[in-house]
């Protein structure tokens, strides 16, 4: 009973096996129930009593050794003989886990609000169906003033309108809060206009900062900070004189075109600039209408169109897509 020979023969054949068939043959021959190792085990009682114990231990150790070799060889062979024969088809799709998405307009609105909240602005809301006073008159749009033509208005009745901007929240907020005031007002607004660049409903974020010593330079500072957080630290901004009844001086705010970075493209009509918001210093008549003393405080206000920003951000070509709710559109965001 030559255990050493058994060991060398068996390990040699296992190590030499080239495929699973040969390996299985070797396994049966040496480790099978009728294999050589079992045969040796059976023959232990034939040995001298004092040798039996040692032989048993040796054979058990050899069995473990050969099993390890066998496993090693199996891994070697299956590895080289292409795992896909034995493993899973990992290219099959996984079982789907349902996942929807927030509407792109609300995603962008949230992003805008988050930036201003980080800057210490409070978020306020108000009615979408609004009194003429809050939407127009208190904001220094006198009745029968041509400035009202700047906003095509949906009317419910003579003095109730669908708000044309969230600037109405300026009045509602200041009416109820003494200065300082630092708020943004996100929400839906309505204008009586519909084409490729206008939908009758869209979204705005209005901002208002009122306090002691707030200046036009501060307005530039706040908007620069916002634009750089929204569009990256190197995005330039440019303020142009404009007219809004509730601010003076008023400014349209352009940002360096985020598409061409200023060299001129179709989106910016070759100007290198994109108009993204309107702003200005709060008009003294607005302060008067909410009972603030305009000799003591100043403030600035700004308003931005969320759709415009979302279109630029995602490269959406037609505003109306935002309201069609086509899943092939929504699922992209």
């Amino acid at each position: 009973m030559d255990i050493d020979k058994l060991k060398s023969d068996a390990s040699g054949q296992i190590g030499a096996a080239k495929d699973l068939d040969e390996l299985n043959q070797a396994a049966v021959k040496w480790l099978g129930r009728k294999g050589a190792l079992s045969e040796f085990m059976r023959r232990i009682p034939e040995l001298e009593p004092d040798l039996r114990r040692e032989a048993g231990q040796k054979l058990n150790a050899l069995k473990k050794e050969l099993e390890a070799l066998l496993e090693e060889a199996r891994e070697r062979i299956s590895g080289s003989a292409q795992a896909r024969d034995e493993g899973l088809d990992i290219s099959l799709p996984g079982r789907p886990v349902a996942a929807g998405s927030i509407h792109p307009i609300n995603q962008v609105m949230e992003e805008i609000c988050d930036i201003f909240v980080q800057m210490g602005f409070d978020v306020v809301e108000g009615p979408e169906v609004e009194l003429d006073w809050y939407n127009f008159e208190a904001l220094n749009f006198p009745p029968d003033h041509p400035a009202r033509d700047m906003q095509d208005t949906f009317f419910i009745s003579g003095d109730v309108v669908l708000r044309t901007h969230t600037s109405s929240l300026q009045i509602r907020t200041m009416e109820n809060t003494p200065p300082p005031v630092k708020v943004i007002a996100p929400g839906k607004v309505y204008r009586c206009d519909s084409d490729v660049t206008h939908t009758p409903m869209f979204h705005q974020v209005e901002g208002l900062l009122v306090g002691d010593g707030i200046s036009f330079a501060d307005l530039k500072g706040a908007l620069t900070l916002f634009v750089q957080k929204m569009y990256g630290p190197n995005t330039p901004i440019r303020l142009r004189p404009s007219f809004f009844p509730f601010t003076e001086p008023s400014a349209e705010v352009d940002i360096g075109c985020v598409i061409c970075r200023g060299s001129g493209c179709r989106v910016c009509s070759g100007t290198g600039w994109l108009e993204v918001l309107g702003s200005g210093m709060v008009h003294p008549n607005v302060f008067k209408n909410v009972g603030y003393d305009s000799s003591l405080i100043t403030g600035f206000a700004f308003g931005l169109g969320v759709e415009r920003i979302a279109m630029l951000k995602y490269g959406v070509d037609d505003l109306r897509r935002f309201f069609e709710n086509d899943l092939r559109f929504l699922s992209q965001f």
């Binding site: 169906v129 041509p146 007219f243 210093m281 899943l327």
Partner: protein, 803 residues
């Protein structure tokens, strides 16, 4: 406002290239929205030498000309001009040229002879009045551009003038701004009138009966004019800014309006009864025909220009047919007036007019400019229509304009702008647009705005002037200095944000629909007449019938969106919307606005895949979504019950539920009635979840109290009961809970079966009960005893049997 740079140059020296001027004007507040080449059409008009002229076989004075157009390849054109001759250098419009009259030059056969373009007259090219023959060029070579040879170059700006700056609705106003950005000076046209005959007071008078609407009315009269076409220069000026020449008298009024911003009107004086002007409001119901031929019924708010008997013009808006300038007009009365902006706006709006005149009057014209504009018009009429001036003017001015001083604190202006400008710098900036200043003390400037600046009345108006003229770009950038306060919590907003995120995690896509819907929407939803959602708020001026009322439910938008998606082959739809609905309220001007959450499920729960068959979604999918939502919000103990009558009219009876928590209705869910789906063009089954956001928030716990996980293991036991089909499973669960045994941790249904071998009318329900004690490990014996007891109780309570 369209501005020709050539015209502008008559009043100001422009030392900037057009693009640069456009940029500077924009940065000063006059937004140049478009810059174009006035003579763009001349780009394809080239000089061409006539090499030969031969008669056209068809006769009719046509000739066939061979031309050298500088390309080395002679071409042939057919020409009908009498002055065409060999050797002349003329103007050839190449095919594709769009001439000012609107005609496109084509390459076509004329009477059987191919003509490559068209030899043009100056009138055809819009470069001069001559239409008698083709252009004859004195210098140049074939192929050269005609615009270059004729020295024709002009740039046209389209300026978006903001409503506060009516002064810039005129060349003089824009020139003033251009002078400021160019650093040059505005030069006004010289007005020199000949000594007239007679005196105007002898032949006419002006009576203003409504001085609150008409503070000033200036009139002049010219006799013996000859009405006819305007000279080329006048027509050309009007055409350059997009105005259509009419006749010399009307053209002068338009020209002066463009030059000065003062709208003028010219009456045929001989058609004015009693030869006088009366300014009064209309009589209610009075009829009047404006010169565009439209008859209007007037109201007492309309200001009218009348003669001694009848209205002859809609003041500040449009003249009347009954007194307009016509070929036989001999005597003209020029009106140069000042009207109240509000009055003109009301009249124009209510009668549906928007004219160049009303546009300017609504915004405010210079009350000091009436007389000069009338004189300027008289000067030009005499020049282009001949005639004899009647000496003098009538200047009825019942409400004289009073200049108002505006004082500005230099310190305050700097504080508002964040600048550090000196008093002198501010004075210089204001002076550049003709705002003269006086220094009252070291900090105070006084400005008396001239009449043309109707927008300046308070110090902030001057701050704005200083800012825009200094340049917004030059104002520093600073961080606002305000104490940083932590904004108060906004729980309602945070809650809505949370709901959105939960819905997204449940696999729904957020939709945003318009807040307005068609008026018949409640009916199409199957709502009864007395349903509160019938109380819609109507939009008075909707864009279309399907946006006529404010929505009272989110469902119509979602249903329509689902229908659209299915039609687009997106057959499995999971959409939700969180938004407001609006309910009209009696005795309240504003409606109540309420946030709702709605979700819709339609199509397949899961698509066909390698591991699963496709399956349509059903009631339990939408219920599952609702339950997952409650679980995410930690809302416990929501009862799903049969809706009360009227609660769920939109849903299919028997396939819907109301969700109740703490005795409050949170919302409804279930299958939408098929006919409702059809009403919204949705052709497949759909399931709805609709909740009141604030009701949901009211039952959502603010915080969660931690309880430690159990220490001892649980034991599971199942029981199957065969019982009447109508018994809801929830009753059995409730019965188990009611026993309140401390060892019963939970119980749930894991199998429902009807059919063989179960008797008809019965069903088999299998439950699994989790047993656990909180103070020890339960033994099999303890659990078996309890489980047997529960089984017996249920068998008795529900008249059930074991299978």
């Amino acid at each position: 406002m369209i501005v020709s740079i050539n015209w502008l140059r008559q009043f100001v020296e422009i030392n900037l290239a057009p693009r640069e001027l456009a940029h500077r004007l924009t940065m000063a507040g006059l937004e140049v929205e478009g810059v174009s080449d006035r003579y763009a059409w001349l780009d394809s008009v080239k000089a061409a030498r006539v090499l030969s002229v031969a008669p056209h076989p068809a006769g009719e004075n046509l000739t066939i000309c061979t031309l050298d157009m500088g390309s080395g390849q002679p071409c042939t054109v057919v020409c009908g001009a009498p002055n065409v001759r060999q050797g002349m250098l003329s103007a050839l419009a190449l095919p594709g040229t769009v001439l000012p009259g609107g005609r496109t030059v084509a390459q076509s056969a004329i009477r059987g002879v191919e003509s490559f373009g068209m030899l043009c007259s100056a009138a055809e090219l819009g470069t001069g009045p001559d239409k008698s023959g083709i252009v004859e060029l004195e210098k140049g070579a074939p192929g050269e551009k005609i615009a270059h040879l004729l020295n024709l170059a002009d740039t046209v700006f389209e300026i978006g003038v903001t409503p506060n700056r009516p002064d810039c609705l005129s060349f003089l106003g824009v020139a003033r701004e251009a002078a400021a950005v160019c650093g040059t000076r505005l030069v006004r046209p010289q007005i020199i009138l000949p000594k007239g005959e007679g005196t105007i007071e002898e032949i006419t008078s002006v009576a203003i009966e409504a001085p609150e609407h008409c503070p000033r009315y200036v009139a002049r009269v010219i006799r013996n004019i000859t009405v006819g076409p305007s000279p080329f220069w006048l027509q050309d000026h009007l055409l350059s800014v997009g105005l259509r020449p009419i006749n010399n008298i009307v053209d002068v009024t338009n020209f002066v309006m463009m030059e000065t911003g003062q709208p003028l009107h010219a009456f045929d004086f001989d058609l004015l009864e009693e030869g006088r002007i009366v300014v009064r409001t209309a009589q209610e119901g009075e009829k009047f025909t404006t010169l565009d031929g439209k008859e209007k019924i007037l109201s007492s708010s309309n200001l009218m220009i009348c003669d001694g008997k009848k209205p002859v013009a809609l003041a500040g808006v449009m003249g009347g047919e009954n007194s307009e300038i016509n070929p036989n007009t001999k005597t003209v009365l020029i009106e140069s007036a000042c009207f109240s902006p509000m009055s003109i706006r009301k009249t124009a709006k209510s009668l549906g007019y928007h004219t160049d005149a009303s546009h300017r009057f609504e915004r405010g014209v210079d009350p000091t400019g009436c007389s000069a504009a009338a004189a300027r018009a008289a000067q030009l009429m005499l020049e282009v229509a001949g005639g004899v001036l009647v000496e003098g003017e009538i200047d009825a001015n019942p409400v004289p304009w009073e200049p108002k001083e505006v004082c500005l604190s230099v310190k305050r202006a700097n504080a508002v702008l964040g600048t550090d400008l000196s008093c002198g710098q501010m004075q210089g900036l204001l002076a550049s647009v003709e705002l003269e200043t006086k220094t009252l003390d070291s900090d105070t400037l006084s400005v008396t705005p001239p009449g043309f600046r109707v927008d300046i009345s308070i110090p902030e108006d001057l701050v704005e002037e200083i800012a825009r003229l200094f340049g917004y770009d030059n104002i520093p950038v600073t961080a606002p200095k305000l104490p940083m306060e932590v904004p108060p919590p906004r729980p309602a907003m945070s809650f809505r944000k949370k709901l959105r995120n939960i819905m997204v995690n449940l696999g729904f896509f957020e939709a945003v629909n318009y807040s307005f819907v068609a008026a018949d929407t409640p009916a199409r939803l199957g709502l009864s007449e007395d349903d509160p959602r019938q109380a819609t708020l109507a939009v008075a001026n909707p864009l279309s019938e399907d946006q006529a009322v404010m929505r009272t439910s989110l469902l119509p938008g979602l249903l329509a969106a689902t229908g659209r998606n299915v039609n687009l082959q997106n057959r499995s739809v999971r959409l939700f919307e969180l938004g407001k609905v609006f309910f009209a309220r009696a005795n309240e001007p504003l409606p109540s606005e309420q946030f709702m959450l709605a979700a819709i499920l339609s199509g397949e729960r899961n698509p066909l895949s390698w591991h699963e068959k496709a399956a349509p979604c059903d009631f339990y999918d939408i219920k599952g979504a609702a339950q997952a939502l409650f679980e995410a919000l930690k809302i416990k103990a929501v009862d799903f019950v049969r809706p009360a009558p009227g609660q769920a009219d939109t849903l299919l009876p028997g396939h819907c539920a109301a969700m109740i928590c703490q005795n409050k209705l949170l919302g409804i869910l279930g299958q939408i009635r098929p006919e409702v789906c059809t009403n919204f063009d949705l052709k497949q089954r759909a399931f709805l979840l609709e909740m009141d956001v604030e009701a949901l928030r009211a039952v959502t716990p603010d915080t969660v109290a931690f309880s430690p996980p159990p220490r001892y293991p649980f034991v599971l036991r199942d029981i199957t009961l065969v019982l009447d089909k109508a018994v809801p499973s929830a009753e059995i669960l409730e019965k188990v809970r009611q026993m309140k045994h401390p060892w019963v941790e939970s119980v749930w249904v894991f199998d429902v079966y009807e059919g063989k071998p179960i008797e008809k009318g019965k069903k088999s329900l299998s439950f699994r009960i989790t047993y656990r004690a909180d103070d020890k490990t339960l033994t099999d014996g303890e659990v078996n005893t309890l489980h047997d007891n529960i089984g017996k109780t249920l068998l008795n309570a529900f008249d059930a049997t074991l299978p």
